[in-house]
Amino acid sequence: MHLAAHFPGVNNTTVWADPRSRSQIDFSSFEHLARTAERGLFDFFFLAEGLRLREHNGLIHDLDVVGRPESLTVLNALAAVTDRLGLAATVNATFNEPYELARRLATLDHLSAGRAAWNVVTSSDAFTGENFRRGGYLDRADRYTRAAEFVATARELWDSWTADGVPRPVAHRGEHFRIEGEFGVPRSPQGHPVVIQAGDSPEGREFAASAADVIFTRHGTPGAGRTFYADVKARLARYGREPDELKIMPGVGFVLGDTDAEAREKAAGIRLQQISPQNAMLALEQVWGRDLSSYDPDGPLPESDPVPDSALVQGRVRHGDPLAVAARWRALSREKGLSIRQTVIEASGRQSFVGSPRTVAAELTEFVATGAADGFILVPHLTPGGLDEFVDGVVPLLQERGVFRSAYTGATLRSHLGLAEPVWKG
């Protein structure tokens, strides 16, 4: 089983009102979570990225944790306070250039002695593009061809030095990039930093099957997980790859208690904090695409249909067709007699492992044993102490069951993940 820790950035996962909640920006918070993950022998530590603050109805969204550092800079600093933990950053392939980003990633791999990973994401969002020269003109199809060429170009650069440590000129001429010259950094300890892909569309799955080492998914329920797992693993053969060469890791929450009942009670309390009345109304407006401030969060859902192509929400990834989401929510609300807030709580929950450490350890083991995932990216709801009880309570039980390591056996992230060093096409 592979385990990673996510530092929740801008989100409504973090229960910031909890008195134990600390800064989301001070380095001490990052250091605490990373050291805890390393104490728990985790494969890697994961940071998401932000390129524009979310807006709702033309105003900066103010209900959730906002403000975070630039990922690669933080990970380089964390390389100084950890020894084995992998260090993964989400970096957009739309608003960066291959030469520069390949150099920064190779630098992190050198400075961390082989622990760097890059989560490749794309954007077709003109709203985000307003912070960049390039702007947001790439359409959906182009952003994947650009991302694929971006990764391929980065690999050409990473492979461009000879084994004797001499740079050889690269001449790349593709649809999106024309690059000529020598790369500034020799081949790094892992050969190539580990490439992670997040995204669920058919293009995203195909891209992951062709080019990624890890795929970060949202499919956290056993049924959906197994379907996704089978689909993605089946795509690998087309690229001459073995099923083991791509690790599938859903992002999941967890709530632990002394007993299962206590954990369930805690989890319900956390959901109420995560979905405040204000957050419930916001989620509703994000689906309906219009102002619903006259509705009561403790009252029923609107009867009217959503506005499908609303610009009400900006800077947030949309999941699903609003009409379909609304229909699902209405059915849920009718069936269980739920208010707006209760519906949002019920509908928006990601897979969470809730129970005593023993129950959670058993469920995680079962999940991996039945082909629903290769491991998990754990998303704590408290910053930065939210992983402590998992590492102290669940990890020893996973070790007891023999499904998780009791010591790091290698020094690089590739070795933790059981991935071979890429063939040096030099």
């Binding site: 910031w16 009102a17 920006i25 001070d26 380095f27 250091e31 932000g50 390129l51 524009r52 603050l53 105003l59 900066i60 103010d62 209900l63 959730d64 944790v65 906002v66 403000g67 975070r68 550092p69 630039e70 690669l72 800079t73 933080v74 380089n76 600093a77 390389a79 100084a80 306070v81 608003f95 960066n96 250039e97 030469y99 520069e100 150099r103 920064r104 190779a106 630098t107 992190l108 050198h110 400075l111 307003e130 912070n131 960049f132 020269r133 740079p167 990039f177 024309r178 690059i179 000529e180 010259g181 020598e182 500034g184 950094v185 020799p186 405040s276 009345p277 204000q278 957050n279």
Partner: protein
């Protein structure tokens, strides 16, 4: 005679490229033991070497007081990314970040990106000034007290204290606000080598620290006056600028007499002013120039960092400390404090009214 100002000392820790962290971290720790204001790490896409900002981020948790000033070029990098990365260096170092602004003028660098052709230095320095300006606005785009965590209203931030910068430059625009909250120093320290004329204009307008290269204390004083005059023309208080003389130093031949080569003298023309001699003579030169009021301090580029920085710290600096010309410890925690520069007020924050009077 003008009053003697505190002497500021900085050192470059570059040299031939290395890819392991220990070497750079060791040099930064050595400079820190000498109580230097800051270390710089040069960078360019055109030559082999690791990304400088990443290297100094790696060094941040391994040091406690010394300022960390990487070169980040502005020609091929997104201004928004530059501002986020430098602000983050300030966060991870708890207020010790600077940014040496530089441009990429060569066709070789342009071809590594394939995005825009090489351009004249004057044009690129104007753009660099705009990037510095946009960066400073982004650093200000969060007021210091924007994070409120108000459980009563469920609001994490007061969005009235976050500001769009709406920066329109000649070659780029940025909407803002920043993603990174305002860094500990308010604005990290901006350093510009003001040797060439277009760079000097950008320096006078945007830099906190200006590096100058000249072979005599009189010429250095002249350049310093020029920088200060230009700063005044941009509406700045010249006393918020620190002008440091840049010297390349070779302390390998301690027995030979000190020499100052003209900037044009081969084979080190690219390094500007070149000093060769012993650590004691270097201390004398620093003392003389500083006493003459020619400079606020020195930026020393050791020609062999491992050897020369050790001699600077244990020889030159020790002697300057004996003469009470240089401090023996860092009295403050941030780079701005080392330099005697105040934390800038936020341009977007309204004037501070007494509590309760703000609408």
């Amino acid at each position: 005679m003008p009053p003697i100002r505190p002497l500021h000392l900085a050192a470059e820790i570059g040299g031939p490229p290395h890819y392991d962290a220990a070497r750079y971290t060791g040099l930064a720790q050595l400079a820190e033991r000498g109580a230097l204001d800051f270390v710089t790490l040069g960078d360019s896409f055109a030559r082999p070497g690791p990304d400088a900002l990443s290297v100094l981020s790696r060094a941040a948790p391994a040091t406690r007081r010394i300022g960390l000033v990487p070169t980040v070029t502005t020609t091929h990098t997104e201004p928004f990314h530059v501002s986020s990365a430098v602000a983050t260096l300030d966060w991870v170092s708890r207020g010790r970040a600077g940014w040496q602004v530089d441009v990429s003028t060569t066709g070789a660098e342009a071809r590594l990106f394939g995005r825009r052709p090489a351009a004249p230095a004057a044009e690129l320095w104007r753009e660099a000034g705009e990037v510095a300006d946009a960066g400073a606005r982004l650093w200000d785009s969060w007021e210091d007290d924007a994070e409120i965590r108000d459980t009563a209203t469920g609001r994490f931030i007061d969005r009235g204290k976050l500001h769009y910068v709406d920066f329109e430059g000649a070659t780029f625009s940025v909407r803002g606000p920043a993603i990174v909250p305002r860094p500990p120093q308010g604005r990290p320290v901006v350093v510009v080598d003001g040797t060439t004329d277009p760079a000097r204009e950008t320096a006078a307008r945007h830099a906190d620290v200006v590096l100058v290269r000249a072979t005599t204390s009189e010429r250095t004083a002249g350049i310093r006056d020029d920088v200060r005059r230009r700063a005044v023309a941009h509406g700045r208080d010249p006393d918020t600028l620190r002008v440091l003389a840049a010297l390349t130093v070779d302390l390998g031949g301690a027995e030979t007499a000190p020499e100052l080569w003209p900037a044009s003298g081969p084979p080190l023309a690219a390094h500007g002013t070149y000093y060769r001699g012993g650590p004691v003579d270097l201390a004398d030169l620093i003392t003389q120039w500083h006493r003459a009021g020619a400079v606020d301090g020195f930026h020393l580029t050791p020609i062999t960092p491992e050897r020369d920085l050790e001699r600077i710290v244990n020889g030159t600096v020790t002697l300057l400390q004996h003469r009470s010309l240089f401090r023996t410890f860092h009295p403050g925690g941030t780079l701005r404090e080392h330099l005697g520069l105040s934390r800038p007020a936020n341009r977007y924050a309204p004037d501070r009214f007494p509590e309760g009077e703000r609408a």
